[in-house]
């Protein structure tokens, strides 16, 4: 990654233009041609730095549900339980964390009611209680990172 890659990452996390040639519009202030910008984005994606190029959805406004859930998983069952949790396509993130509640995952569903089914399925599949912690109030969702 060089300075131009950093500028691409810092700029393109914000708003991507909606016009007929958006890459050309983004490339110009970076001193690139559209083809050069596209090549760099494709490279950053291949390198795993960019995970996706497109929309970040607002689950509830799409009519779906989003929640954070946690489990207390015995150490010796950790990989097995992670496999069961991750086998659900509605689970978008899953992290081990340092606490008695040591597995934390995000469930995002397209339809209302599906969240309860997924969580119940995980409880049934693992025999471990799932603690559902849906948001009550949102104070900030930036999720932007300076390269």
């Amino acid at each position: 990654m060089d300075e131009i890659d950093r500028a691409i990452i810092n700029t393109l996390q914000g708003g991507f233009p909606i016009c007929d040639q958006p890459f050309a519009a983004m490339a110009e202030p970076l001193g690139l041609t559209a083809a050069q910008l596209l090549a760099r984005i494709i490279k950053l994606k291949a390198d795993g730095i960019i995970s996706r190029f497109g929309p970040m959805w607002h689950a509830e406004r799409m009519g779906g549900e989003l929640t954070l859930a946690a489990m207390k998983v015995p150490q010796e069952r950790f990989d097995e339980v992670a496999g069961i949790v991750n086998s659900h396509p509605e689970v978008s993130q899953n992290y081990a964390r340092e606490h008695a509640l040591n597995m934390w995952f995000v469930v995002a569903t397209e339809k209302p009611g599906r969240k309860a089914e997924v969580l119940a399925g995980i409880e049934a599949g693992t025999g471990i209680p799932v603690h559902d912690m849906p948001k009550i109030q949102e104070f900030f969702v930036g999720l932007r990172f300076e390269a």
Partner: protein
Amino acid sequence: MSDTDLALVSVLAQGLPMVSHPYRAVGAQLGLDEAQVMARIQAMRDSGVIRRFGIIVRHHELGFKANAMSVWSIPDEEVGKVGRLLGDAPEVTLCYRRPPRLPLWPYNLFCMIHGRDRAEVEETIGALNRRFVLGAYPHAVLFSTRRFKQTGARYGRPIHQAAAAE
């Protein structure tokens, strides 16, 4: 959402095509012209269905090797005020109020803090506690030790495709 919007969501979930006229390419898959695709994406942005439209990075690969969920137990009558203070702090990448789950989990205010390493994240959280005088509230910091999955939410895609992409 209309069927056309759902189809558009499905195509966009695969990522914007890396071509000079990406909205035209999206439209070609849906039988829409370029202007119609742009108008619908703009409408979804305006209504907030799309929170943000652009690149989504893998923070770990970008050098943010440490991430912590920093949580506090704040009385109900104060949690809104404290949440707004933390949400406005530039070091905080997410901030939510969530329900406590007693007895294991007394905390109701959740922030995500990312940093280059653990020491940097600890320093950041210490500074937040000092700046907003949060020392009196029960508090915990949960560093992540392993990442099992980070796909981003998948919408509008058949389940077999989503599973195959893991």
